[in-house]
């Protein structure tokens, strides 16, 4: 589905992303973790052709994303509020996105009806522009508009960051359902290790622009990740005195 070769981006002498090779296959669910500044968002932006790489290329379905627009037909993404047209009402925005994919308004309405739980009554028919919604609710609009596009590839950057716990769980089950039952390839970044190991079959760990670990999720993955991120943490055994 996605193939990355020799991808490199340098900002002011510092290497932000350096990925010699990465393949993401159709139907995979991939999680991306790493501390701030590890290069997750930059990598996402290069996959979406929002930033020009210094070297290398990203191809989607065998076609370079830069200079082509075919990938837009099957890729849905939400990185931040900059993806939303903030002076529209959520309904208008959904109709607009649906219209781009040749969906009629009743179709969009039908689809949105299926998301009632996820919206929790805070999005539709509230008479607010998107800019007046809270960050968490904006995130819901962004994710919903992604789902509306019936994508083959779904990319979300820290979708769990601003939403409430109930919505986090609902979003997790939606993502799992999409991946397992409908074969949607998902690429998700998050700081929440529990969520990411729960949702994803494969976890990529980034540090200073480099993918240092590429793990197939298993029962030990969470521990492995916690060990990496818990740098310098005092281990519980030492506090208790006994092992």
């Amino acid at each position: 589905m996605i193939e990355i070769k020799d991808l490199k981006k340098v900002y002011g002498g510092a290497v932000v992303v350096n990925v010699p090779e990465l393949r993401i296959y159709k139907g995979e669910s991939v999680g991306l973790v790493g501390n701030n500044g590890a290069g997750k968002t930059t990598l996402f932006r290069m996959i979406l052709d929002l930033i020009r790489p210094d070297t290398g290329l990203v191809s989607s379905n065998g076609e370079n994303v830069a200079g082509h627009e075919n990938w837009k037909n099957y890729t849905a993404s939400y990185l931040d509020e900059g993806f939303l047209i903030d002076y529209l009402t959520p309904e208008e925005y959904f109709y607009f996105i649906g219209g781009l994919h040749q969906q009629s308004r009743p179709h969009v309405d039908d689809f949105l009806a299926g998301l009632t739980d996820f919206f929790n009554g805070e999005i539709l028919k509230k008479g607010k522009y998107i800019r007046d919604l809270s960050k968490g609710n904006q995130c819901k609009v962004g994710v919903a508009s992604c789902l509306l596009q019936n994508p083959e590839l779904l990319m979300l950057d820290e979708p769990f960051a601003n939403i409430d716990p109930s919505t986090q769980f609902r979003l997790k089950s939606i993502l799992k359902e999409l991946n397992k039952n409908r074969g949607v390839t998902t690429l998700i970044s998050s700081h929440d290790l529990n969520h990411i190991t729960d949702v994803c079959d494969r976890v990529l760990l980034m540090e200073k622009g480099i993918i240092i670990k590429d793990i197939a999720t298993s029962s030990s993955t969470l521990n492995e990740l916690e060990e990496y991120f818990g740098v310098g943490q005092i281990e519980p055994e030492k506090i208790g005195g006994t092992a």
Binding site: K72, S77, E81, G82, L88, E92, L100, G127, R131, D132
Partner: protein, 491 residues
């Protein structure tokens, strides 16, 4: 504190994405200002000679008479050209910075405008050369103080109106109409005489220098009004979008549906214009330009065809000039979203052209009553309309590909004043000059009609060859889009 703010502003200027463009604008500005300063100084220093020649022994009466008249014109010019001082206040609000010092900075830096220099250069030399030797020091002081007071008053009145106008474009329309009406009721309808009134005051000043307190008080009061207004809005800004607001309806423009996706894009942009204060003001100020015809055509001296070309281009193209030159910054906050969604850039461009065409057509329809001043007026209007949608639209979009500066529409409009004032007009100079490069020489050689025909033909060709230009712009955009997107992400 003020010096810190100034330093931050300087940093913001130098580190901005558009520094190159801003510097170019500033250099042109500086040259223009220098030119006017020289002219005004010359007039100011020889005002006594001029007046002696024109009025003889009535010199004093004439001098006192024109002062207020000057301030009326001054107000009108300021309304259109004076820049509002800017400072992004939000980052300072939660810091231990006194609100008053923030507001004082904004209110105070407003005094550093060349507009405030002009009256001194124009009127004060006369005071020292003619009034001081006859009436003595106290009266001289009274004159200088009055001129200073009126200048400060005008300065803050213009800024106050402009700030209000930013929130509500109608304020500008009403204020400008009021100034025009005052002017007309003197010169056209002779209801009252500003000159007599002005003489009444300044003539009185010679016998009662104490009167100088009145303009001084006016100036101080206006400053204070500004200060309070800014302070209030600082508070509003802080509360910002949390304000309870009325239910926002979803709207739809069924007529645009015939254009499919492009129509959707245009619909969105129309919503952008009317749902954001700043863009809405840009549109309403465009309505104000519709009066230009009245101002020019009623004046026999300015009813020539050369003026009509200018006025017609302005009236039918004001939206392209005014709104277009900030493209695509209007959409900066969601530009990433546009880039990744299923929108072909060709459609994006076509939507821009369609928007320009729709709104210019609307303005053309509004100006058709000017046919009253001769059928040729209408012909010229149509020719310039074609020029606008055929040539200017493409030029504006060409520059849009080179605009990397983010504009945050969702942030409170009360402190979002960039590009409202003279800077903006300088950027549009190339748009205003180009038709004259073609029409001017031909008109001078008495082939004015050929010139008009040529303008119309070029405009029409531009419209018919749009497909070609769209391709060119698209190719250009592919090279620039990363820089544009990065600039727009740059808060």
């Amino acid at each position: 504190m003020t010096s810190t703010f100034l330093r931050h502003e300087l940093k913001a200027f130098w580190r901005s994405k558009n520094t190159g463009k801003s510097i170019a604008v500033r250099i042109v500005m500086a040259l223009l200002i220098l030119y006017f300063l020289v002219i005004i100084s010359v007039i100011g220093f020889s005002l006594d000679k001029f007046l002696e020649k024109a009025a003889g022994s009535e010199m004093m009466v004439t001098y006192c008479g024109i002062i207020l008249l000057y301030y009326l014109t001054d107000l009108f010019t300021r309304l259109q050209l004076q820049d509002l001082p800017t400072l992004r206040v939000q980052p300072y609000l939660q810091l231990p910075v006194k609100r008053n010092s923030l507001v004082r900075y904004l209110a105070f830096t407003a005094l550093f405008s060349v507009f405030n220099l002009w009256p001194f250069l124009l009127f004060v030399p006369f005071v020292f050369k003619v009034i001081a030797p006859v009436s003595g020091g106290l009266v001289t002081l009274a004159f200088v103080v009055s001129i200073a007071g009126l200048t400060v008053f005008n300065n803050y009145l213009a800024l106050y109106i402009k700030r209000k106008a930013n929130l509500n474009g109608w304020v500008f329309l009403i204020a400008a109409a009021a100034v025009i009406l005052i002017g007309l009721s003197d010169f056209m309808w002779h209801l009252f005489s500003i000159r007599n009134f002005s003489y009444l005051f300044f003539g009185g000043l010679i016998h009662h220098p104490v009167l100088a307190i009145a303009p001084l008080l006016l100036g101080v009061a206006m400053y204070y009004l500004n200060f309070l207004y800014l302070k209030d809005n600082l508070y509003l800004e802080e509360l910002g979008s949390r304000k309870a607001s009325k239910y926002k309806n979803s709207t739809d423009y069924p007529l645009l549906n015939i254009f499919g996706n492009i129509g959707d894009l245009v619909g969105n942009e129309i919503k952008l214009i009317f749902r954001n204060k700043r863009s809405r003001s840009a549109f309403i100020m465009g309505l104000f330009i519709m009066f230009y015809g009245l101002m020019f055509y009623t004046n026999p001296k300015m009813n020539a065809e050369g003026y009509k070309v200018f006025v017609s281009m302005f009236m039918t193209g004001i939206f392209i000039i005014n709104y277009g030159q900030f493209m695509y910054s209007w959409q900066a906050s969601h530009f990433d979203g546009l880039l990744v969604s299923k929108i072909k850039f060709v459609d994006f461009l076509k939507a821009k052209y369609l928007l320009f065409t729709i709104i210019s057509t609307f303005f053309l329809l509004l100006t058709t009553p000017y046919a009253y001043f001769g059928w040729k007026t209408l012909v010229i209007e149509i020719i310039m309309y074609l020029w606008n949608i055929g040539v200017n639209a493409t030029i504006v979009l060409f520059f849009a590909n080179r605009n990397y500066k983010r504009m945050d529409l969702s942030k409170g409009a009360a402190f979002n004043w960039e590009g409202i004032g003279s800077n903006q007009w300088i950027l549009s100079l190339p748009l205003l000059i180009t038709p004259y490069i073609i029409y001017g020489p031909l008109a001078l050689l008495h082939y004015a009609n050929t010139g008009l025909a040529l303008l119309g033909l070029i405009g029409l060709t531009g419209v018919l060859t749009r497909g070609f230009w769209i391709k060119k712009l698209e190719a250009d955009f592919y090279n620039k889009r990363y820089t544009i997107a990065e600039g727009f992400r740059n808060r």
